[in-house]
Amino acid sequence: MDMGEAIILAGSAIGAGLAMIAGIGPGIGEGYAVGKACEAIARQPEASGAVTRTMFVGCAVAESTGIYGLIIALLLIFLKPFT
């Protein structure tokens, strides 16, 4: 393994780690959304079905950014696109 490849791999690994910082956003956002959903269900238990459904869809949308980060990280680690 020559030096250049090693640097690229090291950079990819660091990049993958940095990409996973994207997980912070969805984590906070989804926690907030679930908290609000709990409040909504506590206030109106009869609407729990609709609230839960909406919450899951919202969470899924909020999670996309985290998923993008995950995909980038996976690409960097396993596919090593720059080598």
Binding site: A50, R53, V57, S64, I67, Y68, L70, L74
Partner: protein, 259 residues
Amino acid sequence: MSSMAMMMLPKVLTGPEELSVEGPAVICSFNVFGLTINFTETVVLEWIVMAIILGVSIFLTRNLKVKAVSKRQVIAEMAVEAITNLVRDTMGKRWLWFTPYIATVFCFSIFGSLISLLGVRAVTSDFSVPLTWAAITFILITWTKIRYGGVRGYLKGFADPIPVMLPINILSEVATPTAMALRHFGNIAGGSIIMGLVYYGLASASRMLHMHGAWLTVGIPAVLSLYFDLFSDFMQAFIFIMLTMVFISNAGPAEDEAA
């Protein structure tokens, strides 16, 4: 000594020796009009999944009766009514004809993901598969917009509210299916990679503890598999159909305007 014993064990018992992250295997490929058409593992697995789904639905709907229903029929009716109610609640009554497509994507997605429990690649961890469904959704969204607004209305929608927004609107239009496909693929593929890592790690740990066979991989991954396979697969299938329904029904006018 231990490596000798491991050599004799079948590969299933020794666990993965290395972690491989690869796409599906290509069984054969054709050349049609200069395009390479690959016939991959994924397609074979899709056929298996389709056979399972159709077999189950034929089994469930065998000799249906109006009175004195069997358990099979109750399950079939509950499934049909549940998905019909979901479509009615989410999209409204005029989209009820859409129900079989939603059921198709839901079943295909969930069984295609769950087939990974049998030890093969999940169908949905091939990016082309969710991308196809997202493309269908995109086509349906566009079709709905043109149907209710006309071609002019559809094109005008891109310059809404001011013409400067044109690139952003085009981007958001394309981002919708891309995000759906990526989300589905990322969740399932990420989950399978994490499960692969867990198996690999546990198999390595077994080897390090000089076990004959990867006994640590028995039972322990099941807990993680509950989340990464069962829950995640179900949620992704559900979210995919929910987003499909919401986007398509939002592309048309509101229920009371259309009626």
